[in-house]
């Protein structure tokens, strides 16, 4: 091809190249975010995240409730009596409540638990690795797992009696599945 036959270079070629480079840089600098854990997906193993505290034995549990909370979160505090009642009422039937604190301040968590003592298991995700993996949409978020560790229900936030009633109904339905 001769020079005369070659098409004229676009005057915007440089600009286009600059935009392309900038977009690549932007994509590279954006944090990659995992999708939020949804119903039907397996919940990650608690033993994989170096949580503070000893995870309770859940092999025999028919339903596991995993609640993400923090001492600085008032709705989380409001949810605690409901979770305590769930553990008391359904514990003998194979329901295990596990509260995972995302507090980075251990003292704050301990002070909270001193003011609001509970009988269910409490772990602390000090490095916030599990909560990042699960990518909770809000605080608190409560996951209801079946005996196989599959997420069956998710409660984003705590809505008082409405959440309590739904949670208890969901637990009852899962217990019926297994009986």
């Amino acid at each position: 091809m001769t020079d005369a036959a070659r098409p004229e270079a676009s005057p915007y070629r440089g600009v286009r190249a600059a935009i392309l480079v900038a977009m690549c840089a932007l994509c590279g600098s954006l944090p990659l975010r995992a999708a939020s854990l949804a119903v039907g997906q397996p919940f990650p193993s608690l033993t994989d995240f170096a949580l503070e505290g000893t995870p309770p034995e859940t092999a025999a549990a028919k339903v596991v409730i995993v609640d993400f909370w923090a001492s600085w979160c008032p709705p989380c505090r409001a949810a605690f009596p409901v979770l305590e009642a769930v553990q008391a009422d359904f514990g003998a039937q194979g329901v295990q409540v596990i509260a995972v604190s995302v507090d980075q301040n251990r003292g704050a968590m301990e002070a909270f638990l001193k003011r609001h003592p509970v009988t269910f298991a409490v772990l602390r995700d000090a490095g916030q690795k599990l909560v990042q993996r699960v990518d909770v949409p809000t605080m608190p978020t409560t996951y209801v797992l079946d005996a196989r560790g599959i997420v069956r229900f998710v409660h984003a936030g705590f809505d008082g009696d409405a959440t309590r009633d739904r949670l208890r109904a969901e637990i009852a339905s899962l217990l019926e599945e297994k009986s």
């Binding site: 440089g14 190249a17 480079v21 840089a25 932007l26 995302v102 980075q104 605080m139």
Partner: protein, 76 residues
Amino acid sequence: MKTLARSLVLAAAAVAAISGLTGCTTVQPWERANLADFTMNPERDPLHAAMTDHVYFSREGSTGGRGVGGGGCGCN
């Protein structure tokens, strides 16, 4: 050659601008401990908030400017 140099300068400028923009970030729900602190509430003292409002709308003649009823005459 001149075009190449201009492209490189543009690319560098664009990268610098975009890198600056990505300084904005989203605070995740589990990272809001400091934001949830009581002292982060600008209206944590109801009496102080009421007095500030009173001074504000008296000075500006703007009753209703914060969402309450009123015609803006400052006479409510």
